[in-house]
């Protein structure tokens, strides 16, 4: 990242922002299943960003839900077991 930044600085402002950001946006696009499956070639940057925000929020929600479930599971099992250890580490 830092190397990219230093290289970019030498190249000039506009080149830094557009290409670099377009590349990052495309990478982000690949990560997001909703856009990835959509597969329309011209997905705008703002759409990708928006979907990213939504996706992250969804993931946060899932993590919270899973944490709750794991906590409940942790209470139900023997706390000395390996499972408990695993769950505890998961919850952290």
């Amino acid at each position: 990242m830092s190397s990219r930044r230093s290289r970019m600085r030498q190249a000039g402002v506009s080149r830094i922002s557009e290409d670099q950001i377009a590349d990052l946006v495309s990478k982000l696009q690949q990560l997001i299943p909703e856009i990835r499956n959509r597969r329309s070639d011209r997905v705008s940057a703002s759409e990708v960003l928006q979907e990213t925000c939504n996706y992250i929020k969804n993931l946060h929600r899932e993590v919270d839900d899973l944490s709750d479930r794991l906590s409940q599971l942790l209470e139900s099992i023997d706390s000395d077991s390996a499972q408990a250890a695993i769950i505890r580490s998961l919850l952290m």
């Binding site: 950001i21 982000l28 946060h60 899973l66 250890a85 580490s89 952290m92």
Partner: protein, 519 residues
């Protein structure tokens, strides 16, 4: 209903244009509009098409809100509330045709149709029903009549006589203040727009201001933002740009604006953006060459696009932890290209923010997978522990070793099914397992999130860090298993490399399995 609405809108547009001419007409339209709005609101207190409820006058009682009076006095909200039923009865007397007009007028005021190059929004596009809900407070008990009259003021005095508008508006908003913020924002934006409105932008600006503000309170704001930014009016763009991300601050600023009677530019970012665009348009309006207009339109559309992206970036930044290097993109992108050159650092930070976003999304995905596997693991644990422990170890190891920002890491997706014992393969992975001895299970929960903030598992984490430099992912996957092995078999210190694998025949395979996909 939407089709009706669109039809009505077009007819209403004509009406609105004439609004400057006929005071009574405007008043009437507003009033009727309020009536219609009222109905539609009741139909859908939340979002979506407001006009669907055109026919439900009875239902209007619920959300009340638009208690519009023909004469429109500045009545208190309480009075309006009590008058709801009376209003409904009075409204019932009006034919539906009028209500359609009202909806048109209201829609025109509320929706920011992407205006044609001409200052006047001649052809507002079909309504944005979704933008209605924010304006029509399901929320509330706003006094519509005073507000509507303010609108009437605006449309009636497009040439700077709007000052009277804000005053009445502020009066109305004062009472409204206790109500939903969206409505307040709406009014304040209206007043703000009115105050700053000079020759050209009167009506549509007001409408756009309203719309942009309404977008503030709306959860589907991004949609609005698209519409708003598409408008040539900078107000909408700037408002949506700022409002979208921070509705409370925006509304707070709007409230401040409400207090000011005239021409206050206190509401900062939106204002200056709006004014600059306005001045620019005025300056060019006189010369009004096609070329300048095209360039201006292009600049404005480019600016709107940038604003849109900036908003999204800000929203994304808020979601990503440790993303504190990013500057206010909105301001940055609102500058011209010349100014942007000066913001080299900021642009770099934007890229770094995107980098972080990518990594964070990956880590979140892994985390979710790991945790879901963990949830599913417990019930199945007992039947074949030997098989599952390595898998779990993988998960845990990855969570511990990934060192993701705030959340534990989730194991690689391919892991779950790969817990097949194969000691021989583990040997290949050995070199990467330079993990110090482990402690007992209770100790272990090395906090995956604290990869950078070492805890008792410092040694393990440090070693992982060393390995990470080579291959960010694979070593992480591998080493955690070591950690887990330590957890599951407390008595077995995990020496370096391959020897660790020997004690647990299953474990090495699991590690290998995980390592293979990565490899």
């Amino acid at each position: 209903m939407e089709e009706d609405y669109s039809v009505l809108t077009s007819s209403g547009l004509g009406r609105i244009r004439k609004s400057a001419v006929g005071d009574e007409e405007i008043m009437e339209l507003l009033w009727q509009n309020g009536q219609v709005v009222f109905h539609s609101q009741n139909q859908r207190p939340g979002k979506n098409t407001q006009f669907e409820g055109c026919g439900d006058r009875e239902a209007a009682e619920q959300s009340t809100i638009r208690e519009i009076r023909p004469n429109g006095g500045g009545e208190t909200a309480s009075q309006h509330l009590s008058m709801q039923e009376d209003e409904i009865a009075s409204w019932l007397q009006y034919p539906i045709d009028e209500s359609s007009f009202e909806s048109d007028l209201y829609a025109d005021l509320l929706y920011s149709a992407p205006p044609p190059p001409a200052p006047m929004a001649a052809a507002r596009p079909p309504p944005m029903p979704s933008s209605r809900p924010p304006v029509a407070p399901s929320q509330v008990k706003l006094e519509l009549p005073p507000r509507l009259h303010s609108f009437a003021h605006f449309s009636r005095f497009p040439r700077g006589k709007i000052h009277s508008g804000p005053s009445s508006l502020s009066k109305a908003t004062t009472m409204v203040d206790s109500n939903e913020t969206s409505m307040v924002a709406l009014e304040s934006s209206v007043s703000k727009a009115a105050a700053e409105n000079t020759a050209q932008v009167s009506g549509e600006n007001v409408g756009q201001g309203i719309v942009s503000v309404t977008a503030t309170g709306n959860e589907t704001a991004p949609t609005y933002e698209m519409t708003l930014t598409s408008s040539s009016d900078g107000l909408g763009a700037s408002d949506s740009g700022s409002a979208d991300q921070h509705p409370p601050p925006a509304t707070a600023e709007d409230r401040k604006c409400v207090g000011r009677e005239t021409d206050d530019t206190g509401c900062q970012s939106e204002d200056f953006e709006f004014e600059s665009l306005n001045a620019k348009r005025q300056a060019q309006g006189s010369t009004s060459t096609k070329r300048s207009r095209t360039a201006e339109v292009h600049n404005q559309s480019e600016r709107r696009r940038r604003d849109r992206i900036n908003e999204k970036m800000k929203a994304l930044q808020e979601l990503i932890p440790r993303c504190n290097k990013v500057v206010e993109f909105m301001y940055m992108f609102s500058l011209s290209w010349l100014e942007r050159i000066q913001l080299l650092n900021i642009k770099s930070d934007k890229a770094s923010m995107l980098d972080e976003a990518i990594e964070y999304v990956k880590s979140l995905q892994l985390q979710v997978q790991m945790m879901s596997m963990g949830c599913g693991m417990v019930p199945v644990m007992y039947p074949s522990i030997q098989q599952f422990i390595p898998a779990m170890g993988m998960w845990m190891g990855m969570g511990m070793g990934m060192g993701m920002p705030n959340r534990p890491v989730v194991p690689h997706p391919s892991l779950p099914g790969s817990a097949v014992p194969n000691p021989s393969r583990a040997a290949h992975i050995g070199p990467r397992f330079s993990i110090p001895t482990f402690s007992m299970p209770p100790v272990p929960a090395p906090d995956p999130t604290r990869f950078q903030a070492p805890n008792q598992s410092d040694a393990m984490l440090n070693s992982l860090a060393v390995q990470n430099s080579n291959q960010p992912q694979i070593p992480n996957f591998v080493h955690p298993y070591q950690q887990y092995l330590g957890l599951c078999q407390p008595r077995i210190p995990l020496p370096q490399n391959q020897t660790v694998m020997q004690p647990a025949a299953n474990k090495p395979s699991s590690i290998k399995d995980i390592g293979n996909p990565e490899n």
